[in-house]
Symmetry: C2
Amino acid sequence: MESEGHETEPGTTRPGGRTARVRAAVLEAAGDVLAEHGFAHLDLADVARRAGVGKTTVYRRWGTATGLVTDLLLDMAQQSVPRTETGSLLGDLTANARLVQRTLADPRQGALFKAVIAAATCDPKAAEALHGFYAVRVKEWAPCVRQAAARGEVPEDTDPYEVIRAASAPLYYRLLTTDLPLDEAAADRAATATAAAARAGAFGRGA
Amino acid sequence: MESEGHETEPGTTRPGGRTARVRAAVLEAAGDVLAEHGFAHLDLADVARRAGVGKTTVYRRWGTATGLVTDLLLDMAQQSVPRTETGSLLGDLTANARLVQRTLADPRQGALFKAVIAAATCDPKAAEALHGFYAVRVKEWAPCVRQAAARGEVPEDTDPYEVIRAASAPLYYRLLTTDLPLDEAAADRAATATAAAARAGAFGRGA
DNA sequence: CAACTAACGGAACGGGAGTCCCGTTATGGA
DNA sequence: TCCATAACGGGACTCCCGTTCCGTTAGTTG
């Protein structure tokens, strides 16, 4: 029962050089393990071995499997793919859906996202990180819905966030609850359906 | 390295009486643990203690946490809520979406589904069971789309399964990737959007 | 370029998860 | 009803996850 007041986390006072190298090596190794064996078999000692890093270090800095996955997600959040603009809502949503589809269909990336979702259902910290991750992504794409509203494609009171989420949702649902292939047709269908619903005013804030 | 040919699993030769009682007690205890602490802290020894059952028995019959969750899902699959018929596609989809929403919003049930999803992302057996579970549910509701097609509400070539999945997807996506409330409004929005998209022919098999 | 110390790494340790052994219970069939 | 044995249960045992201790390495500051 430590009675001390909030000691500084390892890696915060001297974030440069070796500390950063260790983090990079560990996160890469963790990604490898997740892609190969999945979240259930994510053993911190194994990660340390692969990363060429002391077991103690991994336990000290990340503590648990969910903690490690959470940091991996924070790292993933850094690399942002820029949004493309096509001039129509359907075009923009299709671009978004295909981006999501390619990411989830990629063996390594798909496994990582599955692991992150699994971690989020177990651990509040991981869940918070995951929610933040998607909040950023959704916010990034929301402007395309506002532009569509400005063009008169959809009603003025359309909720942009709901539209963007609606375009991704079927892809995640398909990934998690079926063994059907996550192909481009699925992405296009999600985009088409979302665009049609948005045009019909299904995402109006009032209704 | 057993060279023996496929020994019978415990519980298959004498499924009645004590065996069934043990299974019921263990599954209930497992559900309690999942609802309280989540999948990450599902300890088989703890489950055995709560169920008033020998630790050895739990390890022998279920082996791992994912195995236990898988059996729990098979048990959940038994209880089927009958489909309601309202006479319109929007009405039927709303009924379906609200059923899903109420299930996921319920503290215990919601926790169970989260756990099952987490297990499915880790273990192939669990994934197979989960996919089967949703295949049955989707199949159960598909007729309402065919009836809508017969009434001329949606195009003839509409894929019923895709429509049903589309109605649930936003709710699961919201549950997993956001901290927004999973309320009835979200369910109604999902149903409205799906119905509108279906009417517009977004779930046509050809397109 | 020193000095200070944050952060790492090896090694030994403790505890609990998972296994094994074998005696006990009670089910399904004759 | 009785028998054969499937399935359970307790307890001892093993192994490895996670922790602790402390010496070593290398950022950071002046």
